[in-house]
């Protein structure tokens, strides 16, 4: 079986499954309410990702209720939109860059309730842990 490529429909479904298997995420995210667009933007000098990719995740009280690759970005109005370039996201999902660090240093951009994000740092950490359990391929 081939490895899911980050970012793709296969990858985000694999993350959904990982989150719903994770007792640590269930506990850490128990107070979380709000769906996300994770926007992966092209880096300046790479042709691997010609256009932004939108991943939708509906996160609710420690579970992921739905997740998919978005084809029409206007189809949803998620509570949170987190954006960064592909290279930054790659560092996040391989646990080289903490997403809260990324926010505080401007490497990741967020639209949505900042307080909600800053008080749920443990959930963000467990989400990254789930990402690292996906044996993924990355664009070169």
């Amino acid at each position: 079986m081939s490895k899911p490529v980050f970012p793709s429909q296969e990858w985000v479904k694999a993350l959904e499954a990982e989150l719903n298997r994770s007792a640590a995420y269930t506990e850490a995210g128990k107070n979380w309410e709000g769906d996300f667009y994770f926007v992966i933007e092209p880096d300046k000098d790479t042709a691997a990702l010609p256009e932004p990719v939108y991943l939708y995740m509906d996160l609710w009280h420690g579970a992921c209720r739905d997740a998919y690759l978005v084809t029409d970005k206007d189809a949803q109005k998620p509570a949170f939109v987190m954006s960064a370039t592909y290279s930054k996201w790659k560092r996040v999902v391989t646990k080289q860059l903490d997403p809260i660090q990324g926010l505080m240093t401007g490497q990741l951009k967020l639209k949505g309730n900042m307080v909600m994000v800053m008080k749920n740092v443990k959930a963000a950490q467990e989400m990254v842990n789930a990402c690292t359990r996906i044996d993924a391929e990355f664009l070169s």
Binding site: G102, L103, M104, T105, G106, M114, M118, K119, K122, Q125
Partner: protein, 620 residues
């Protein structure tokens, strides 16, 4: 003299002489302003024989070349003197509107000498300077004294810097608080090093400053106004788009509590535990419950100040809420998780005029010693010394400020308390300065940052944990991303970060957040005409850092005795985000000395280094 007014105000309270002197252009060109420029002046004026609380110890308020220009994050000021708390170089950096207002009144800085024969205050305007009787202010809190002055002088535009009862009573860690009548103004806390005690030792209760009645008409002279404006607009654009601006605006400095707590950065139960429910003492909780507005300093784009009219039953003076350090010092450090009373305690520290880091740390240390049975019940003179007892801690804050009962003992600080019971090594301090609320076991570089800081265990001379835990490198300056537990090959970045923050404290710039380096250099160069670029700016910081080292050596600093970590921080924690890490200070320090070009035995910069930095004449 572009970027500067070109004048320093000198007030001798003994002789009541008031003079203005031309600013030393050479000093300004080499040491910029703020605590850098103040250090250069003070180097000429004091030696080891000067009593920190004697009339011969000059107290210097200094603003910077970007103060009043509109450069973002630049509206701060430095207060400097020999510290009564450490006996070493002392500096405290604060915001509000005091620095720019002093500049608008016509001065780059104020030097106070001598001792008045009765309590007095200074009234400074462009029209003149008066030393006035302050008997009516005696015993007042910092907030009340400022408000009383504005009322007495019938001038709501006055910006004041006042001491509280703690400063009057020479508490070793008394602060100076700057306030103004603007509803959205953030307090300016010159908290560390006991600068409030130095002010109190001069019988100086307050300084009231009023610049031009029409501040918008006042223009700081600029070398190249068009270039300055272009750089400033770029910096403003960057900061308005920057996420950290939004983070600190939304949740304040204490909004990082949950994140830093997860990494083990926030101390618990006097540095002996690794876990706590940080969400109960966090700026995120404040934002969702009791926050009523945001406070700002001059030329700030962030507004990290927390405005809280009422926290539970407590009405807060000037609606000033707590910052991260206060919430940690009286919260997790003492196992207290009531955000309402913690906000009240923080406000009381500011009002009574004690540094909340030192006060909280000293009280927590007393509780720790009591818990161990080292500090007997009788010694506490009725004080409540228990974990999770905020009312007991609040009562002690009041006793400290007035030097009453056991407060008189705690007013001398944690090191003295430890020495009193033969356990000085257990006090979490460096050189007499209680440690800031960032555990070096969570970010090893902080061990060297604390050990080598010119003022003791402060995080304001390199908040290197932000590089180590928050991934905040500054690549333009060669400050690289490092693993937080890494021991080797970290010191070059740390030294550069110290130099950078030293420049921040000279300019005088806020850390939350900085404009980009390129724009900072452009603004400074365009304001002053100095040749400042990202390639050479760190030389200014290194020069000032080495100057402060020379000054401390002149004051009797002994590096090999001083550069230690307290015992408790050499013990690994079995739980929490430090993951059992203990920093190897000796290995890092030796690398640090190589990077700095300092002699290991004497702690002194090498002759070559001093020549390189233009400081050799100071030691000949």
């Amino acid at each position: 003299m572009n970027g500067y007014i070109g004048r320093l105000l000198f007030v001798d309270l003994t002789t009541r002489a008031v003079t203005a002197q031309e600013l030393n252009r050479d000093y300004a060109a080499q040491f910029l302003g703020g605590s850098g420029l103040a250090a250069r002046y003070i180097y000429d004026w004091i030696d080891a024989g000067v009593d920190p609380l004697g009339p011969e110890n000059p107290l210097v308020f200094m603003n910077g070349p970007l103060d009043g220009t509109g450069a973002p994050s630049s509206g701060r000021f430095a207060v400097c003197a020999r510290s009564p708390q450490t006996g070493l170089w002392g500096e405290a950096i604060a915001g509000n509107f005091f620095g720019p207002e002093l500049k608008f009144a016509g001065y780059d800085g104020l030097v106070v000498r001598g001792r008045a024969d009765a309590w007095c205050y200074l009234h400074i305007t462009p029209d003149g300077v008066e030393i006035r009787d302050a008997d009516f202010l005696r015993g007042m809190t910092t907030f009340d004294a400022g408000d009383a002055l504005r009322a007495a002088l019938d001038d709501e535009g006055l910006v004041t810097a006042c001491i509280g009862p703690a400063g009057e009573n020479l508490v070793q860690y008394a602060l100076i608080l700057a306030t103004s009548a603007r509803p959205a103004a953030k307090k300016g806390i010159a908290g560390r090093c006991g600068m409030g005690a130095v002010m109190g030792s001069k019988n100086l209760k307050a300084i009231a400053v009023r610049g031009s009645k029409h501040p918008r008409s006042f223009k700081v002279p600029l070398h190249d106004a068009a270039r300055f404006r272009q750089a400033m607009l770029r910096a403003q654009k960057f900061l308005s788009d920057d996420m950290s601006t939004e983070v600190f605006r939304a949740v304040g400095t204490s909004g990082t509590m949950d994140f830093l707590g997860l990494l083990g950065d926030v101390p618990v139960k006097y540095w002996t535990q690794g876990q706590f429910d940080y969400s109960k003492i966090s700026g995120n909780l404040i934002a969702e419950t009791i926050l009523t507005g945001r406070g700002t300093c001059h030329a700030c784009m962030v507004a990290c100040g927390r405005k809280i009219q009422k926290a539970g039953p407590y009405v807060l003076p000037h609606a000033e809420g707590p910052e991260y350090e206060t919430l940690a010092a009286f919260g997790s450090l003492m196992l207290t998780d009531d955000i309402n009373i913690l906000s009240h305690i923080g406000a009381q520290c500011d009002a009574l005029g004690v540094d909340s880091i030192s006060a909280g740390s000293t009280i927590a240390f007393a509780i720790y010693l009591h818990d161990l049975g080292i500090l007997p019940d009788a010694a506490g003179q009725g004080a409540r010394l228990a974990w999770g007892d905020p009312e007991g801690a609040l009562a002690l804050v009041e006793q400290i400020a007035r030097r009453q009962a056991f407060g008189a003992v705690l007013a001398e600080g944690a090191q003295a308390l430890g020495a009193r019971y033969g356990v000085e090594g257990l006090a979490v301090q460096v050189n007499g300065m209680e440690m800031a609320m960032h555990d070096p076991r969570a970010a090893s570089g902080m061990a060297v940052s604390y050990a080598t800081s010119p003022i003791g265990a402060s995080h304001n001379y390199s908040d290197f944990f932000m590089v180590e835990t928050s991934g905040r490198p500054i690549y333009e300056l060669g400050i690289e991303t490092v693993d937080r537990f890494q021991t080797h090959d970290k010191m070059r970045s740390l030294a550069r970060h110290q130099d950078w923050r030293t420049i921040n404290n000279a300019l005088v710039l806020c850390f939350f957040p900085n404009p980009p380096v390129q724009e900072m250099c452009e603004m400074l160069a365009a304001a002053t005409g100095y040749d400042v670029t990202p390639e050479n700016i760190l030389t200014y910081g290194e020069r000032i850092w080495n100057l402060k080292r020379l000054l401390n050596l002149k004051l009797g600093y002994c590096a090999r005795r001083a550069e230690k970590l307290p015992e408790l921080l050499l013990r690994p924690l079995s739980e929490g985000g430090t993951e059992g890490n203990v920093p190897d200070l000796d290995v890092m320090l030796r690398e640090y000395y190589q990077v700095r070009g300092w002699d290991w035995e004497t702690g002194s910069p090498s002759c070559e280094k001093l020549e390189e930095l233009g400081l050799a004449n100071l030691v000949r």
